[in-house]
């Protein structure tokens, strides 16, 4: 790659002066106004991570309250009204406000670093997505505290969530909170796709992209296809049914109550993989680093990711086996649901092969990988069981399914995520998390998870349906429920240990240095935490593991201007230098437009006219936003040394 025209060996350069100039260009402005205008990729991602983690804590507290209520039969701690709000907000929080945005936030932080980019493709859009998400978060939680929390489950099945059976505005809150998360997820997805396709460091051809980046790319495409489905369902159909009395879901007027389930699960099933794929993408760098070897079967893993994404859209009916859908149609979805176990199996086998041929060190992230294997495989197996129509008709909507989905999401989502926290915390903060507390956290968490959720399998098969706030003593469900509650409190304790560890380490942890694990990814090639411009010089990549290259010289790109936010764009397939792009600077308009959208969607609950008002004032903001973006752009065609013509700004 050293023959690239813009790449040259950096023999001697005034790195410090260059860095200072870059920092002056790229840093967000200080002060409150600067804070509100911030667009710097890592700043926004850091805010995302912290907010989504707060949402995880909130959702966890709701879960703990529910477990306390269910600990004993006929418990009078929480009544049905509050309980229904709690489980709905728990599900909504964990799926929409924690899992998806958290996985995206990790991507928004790490992907530009991993591909050697200065920033993300659309920083202002990114900021807009974040503010939008914050509006949704605030809206949901204010609603919950004023007794307006949604109460029909995170799936909001009509007609229960329709206008006739959910009076007031509780379900409207759910429908619009989903809207906010859809918008922010789409903003993140578009950003990640363009960043991965156009902003990779020279030389990082598609077959050299880190597996985590592949996972984020695949998931971004999944979001682009899945989110519009739920947007149609909730924001359009459900909200219209409720606000202006349309009849999408009213069978008496030609609507269809089952339609909602198709639309919801067409989004809802891919949603699971939107959470799961980035999480298992995090496993690969952890395993590589702590086994000190390249991952086994890179191509197979990437293909498995893509295959999973395709199949994920063909499984939704397995959430609806108990509905009157013809058996032949159902069996198709059984087959598809079983097939999707194959790509997941491939990835698991590849990791085991990597472990096998490597020199494993059982650090805390690696412990979480093993915890993932133990917990997730169980969830995967119950998943295959549930793919069977005959068995699903027994287990559907019981605690068996509750156990399954938590095994999958905690095992397949949360365990890798915690591993990733321990792995990348030094990159985020410059300090290491404490290992002893980390191990305590791990053991409490794994034991807590299994003690909580394993008994639920048995409870479900003994007839306990999900979403019940009480049960009679004669049902005999008391003992296992008590056990599950003890497990849930253990999980709470483990998360507390993690919090203490995180806060302590953030302020007084051991300094990490640039690359504490001697890992291979480009994100470790810069300081911890990285500067506002990520890299002084954009690196040039010559293999899948740039930092494990044995040659002394690491070629870099020079020639990008440091007095404005210049970014090197590269070609999609081979990552050949293509053109320059000038990134935007900080702006208040993303926040303004997000607030206007907030007014639009929240107001639409109370009056359709607020939609008009919201669109009107949003347009003003969008106008100024666009106006600011188009200033100072001059385009010039120049010839590269290899004879190709490129646009130069």
């Amino acid at each position: 790659m050293s023959n690239l025209p813009v790449a040259q060996l950096l023999v001697e350069a005034d790195v410090a002066r260059e860095a200072a100039a870059l920092d002056a260009t790229w840093r967000d402005k200080s002060g409150v106004w600067g804070w509100l205008c911030a667009v710097e990729q890592k700043t926004i991602a850091r805010r995302y991570i912290i907010t989504t983690f707060l949402m995880f804590l909130a959702g966890g507290m709701e879960a703990a309250l529910m477990r306390l209520q269910l600990a004993r039969p006929e418990n009078a701690l929480i009544g049905p009204d509050r309980y229904n709000q709690l489980f709905t907000v728990h599900g909504t929080t964990m799926m929409f406000l924690f899992a998806v945005p958290m996985m995206q936030a990790m991507g928004l932080y790490l992907v530009p670093l991993m591909v050697g980019a200065r920033s993300i493709a659309f920083p202002r859009l990114n900021a807009f997505g974040y503010w939008n998400y914050v509006v949704g978060v605030v809206f949901l939680y204010v609603s919950l505290f004023i007794n307006m929390g949604p109460d029909t489950g995170w799936t909001a099945y009509v007609p229960l969530s329709g206008p006739a059976y959910s009076p007031g505005h509780r379900v409207d809150v759910w429908a619009q909170v989903v809207t906010f998360t859809e918008i922010s997820a789409l903003c993140g997805a578009v950003n990640l796709i363009v960043t991965v396709f156009k902003m990779r460091a020279p030389g990082m051809s598609l077959n050299r992209i880190p597996v985590f980046v592949w996972a984020q790319l695949v998931v971004a495409f999944m979001i682009v296809f899945a989110m519009p489905a739920v947007a149609t369902g909730s924001t359009l159909m459900l909200a219209l049914d409720r606000a202006v009395n349309t009849h999408w879901f009213n069978p008496a007027e030609g609507g269809d109550a089952l339609l909602w389930q198709h639309i919801f699960w067409f989004f809802g099933h891919p949603e699971v993989y939107i959470i799961f794929l980035p999480a298992i993408g995090m496993i690969t760098p952890i395993v590589e680093t702590f086994c000190r070897r390249a991952v086994f079967g890179y191509t197979a893993m990437v293909m498995a990711n893509i295959t999973t994404a395709f199949f994920a859209f063909g499984l939704w009916v397995h959430h609806m086996f108990a509905t009157p859908i013809p058996e032949l149609g159902q069996s198709l979805f059984t087959a598809a649901s079983m097939v999707i176990a194959v790509p997941t199996g491939i990835q698991i086998f590849c990791w085991i092969a990597t472990l096998w041929g490597g020199r494993p060190r059982l650090t805390v992230p690696m412990l979480f990988v093993l915890g993932f294997l133990f917990t997730f495989i169980n969830g995967g197996i119950t998943g295959v069981m549930l793919a069977s129509v005959a068995f699903d008709k027994e287990a559907h909507d019981t605690f068996f399914v509750v156990a399954h989905l938590h095994y999958v999401l905690i095992g397949g989502g949360l365990m890798p995520l915690f591993g990733a926290f321990y792995f990348w915390f030094p990159k985020l903060t410059g300090r290491l998390l404490n290992t002893a507390l980390g191990k305590l956290h791990f053991w409490l968490f794994v034991i807590g998870t299994n003690v909580t959720f394993f008994p639920m399998h048995i409870l479900g098969l003994n007839g306990m349906p999900r979403r019940i706030y009480t049960y009679a003593e004669t049902t005999g469900w008391g003992t296992l429920n008590m056990l599950a509650t003890v497990g849930a409190l253990t999980i709470a304790l483990s998360v507390l240990v993690f919090l203490i560890n995180a806060v302590r380490s953030w302020f007084s942890g051991e300094h990490a240095g640039d690359n504490p694990w001697d890992a291979a990814g480009l994100e470790w090639a810069t300081t911890s935490p990285p500067p506002s411009y990520n890299f002084v010089h954009t690196p040039v990549v010559r293999s899948r593991h740039p930092l494990w290259e044995t040659t002394v010289e690491q070629p870099v790109v020079t020639g990008l201007r440091s007095d404005r936010r210049e970014i090197l764009l590269t070609t999609t397939f081979d990552a050949q230098p293509d053109s320059r792009h000038v990134g935007p600077d900080g702006s208040i308009w993303p926040l303004y437009v997000a607030l206007c959208m907030g007014l639009l969607f929240i107001g639409s609950i109370f009056s359709p006219y607020s939609v008009l008002a919201g669109i009107g004032i949003s347009l003003i903001g969008l106008f100024f936003w666009g106006w600011q973006s188009t200033q100072d752009v001059e385009v010039e065609r120049v010839a590269l040394p290899d004879g190709r013509m490129v646009d130069r700004l």
């Binding site: 009544g79 009204d81 229960l160 199996g345 086998f349 005959a390 559907h396």
Partner: protein
């Protein structure tokens, strides 16, 4: 009393068989894969190169590729076995009964309306929350929902079906062991989803036929003055605006049919056993026992309550 592990119908037995097979295979896979992973994580198997990285010889790499491919192939085989087994069970379960006793079940917030259809309207039997079925005969449920989606499932008898507004769905099974099987609504249906249970009473065909025949014959009108007073309370103090009792003027269909009320084992959709004390407590203030329930608390004097409960107790 109610468990998937204790099947009482050929249908449930078939699914339980499938489950135990899947459980066994699943356990082997779970612990097998994890054990291999642990073994792999325990000790290094690679060769350290001069770059301090682990390397695997091409020959060894190919061998590992074969092992991984073999594991993937085994996964596919196991899944195929699953699939074939599942389809064979599914095709057994999907066989429509040509002729079967058909029972109409309508899901309401938060109780089950049961009707045994008969071409002769006077022979039609209405009841609630308790379904009698003959042992050894195929029974078909015709399922409808009056308001929101409900779902019916008796773990011992197998099968689960949603009751969806605008759809009529069916569910069938053949109870082969006599007994009382509990089930409850499994699709979240609002405030009292938790207390929407039902019982399926599987009894010998002769006994069932007797029960069904008796079902369409109303109780004789009371003669005792206390019971007459009780009936008047029922008719005049609001009960009759929602409930019906065969053979009387009470014909409302808002709440459960009470013609043979005392013949049922439980009240309030399976929440309370059908005793005099529970019944009194229930009528006094239903929402204290089942918050959000649609049945109102009636302001009855102790005398009226006594008479009313006495009357209801006679509806055998």
């Amino acid at each position: 009393m109610h468990s998937f592990f204790d099947p009482a119908s050929p249908q449930a037995r078939a699914v339980a068989g499938l489950w135990w097979w899947m459980f066994g295979v699943g356990m082997v896979i779970w612990f097998g894969v994890f054990a291999v992973a642990m073994y792999a994580a325990r000790q290094p198997h690679g060769q350290r190169g001069p770059d301090d990285l682990e390397h695997v010889s091409p020959e060894r790499h190919r061998r590992m590729e074969r092992v991984v491919a073999g594991a993937v192939f085994a996964t596919i085989l196991i899944l195929c076995a699953f699939l074939v087994y599942d389809f064979s069970i599914g095709s057994v379960l999907a066989m429509h009964p040509k002729r079967a006793l058909t029972i109409d079940v309508v899901g309401h917030q938060w109780w089950w309306e049961i009707t045994y259809e008969d071409p002769n309207p006077s022979k039609r039997v209405g009841t609630a929350n308790e379904i009698h079925v003959p042992v050894g005969e195929l029974v078909q449920f015709k399922l409808r929902a009056a308001d929101v989606i409900h779902s019916i499932w008796a773990p011992n008898l197998g099968g689960k079906k949603d009751l969806i507004p605008g759809y009529v769905s069916t569910l069938w099974f053949k109870a082969d062991t006599a007994g009382v099987y509990r089930g409850q609504c499994t699709e979240f249906c609002g405030m009292q989803h938790a207390q929407m249970a039902f019982y399926i009473v599987a009894e010998p065909p002769v006994k069932f036929a007797g029960w069904l025949a008796a079902g369409s014959i109303p109780n004789p009108p009371p003669t005792d003055s206390l019971l007459l007073h009780g009936r008047d309370v029922f008719m005049q103090r609001g009960c009759a605006s929602c409930h019906s009792i065969g053979g009387t003027d009470a014909r409302a269909t808002v709440g459960p049919d009470l013609t043979h009320f005392k013949g049922r084992a439980a009240i309030a959709a399976g929440s309370l056993s059908n005793t005099r004390a529970n019944l009194t407590r229930w009528i006094q203030n239903p929402s204290a026992l089942k918050p959000g329930v649609r049945m109102p608390a009636l302001e009855l004097s102790p005398g009226e309550m006594n008479a009313l409960v006495s009357y209801l107790e006679t509806l055998k």
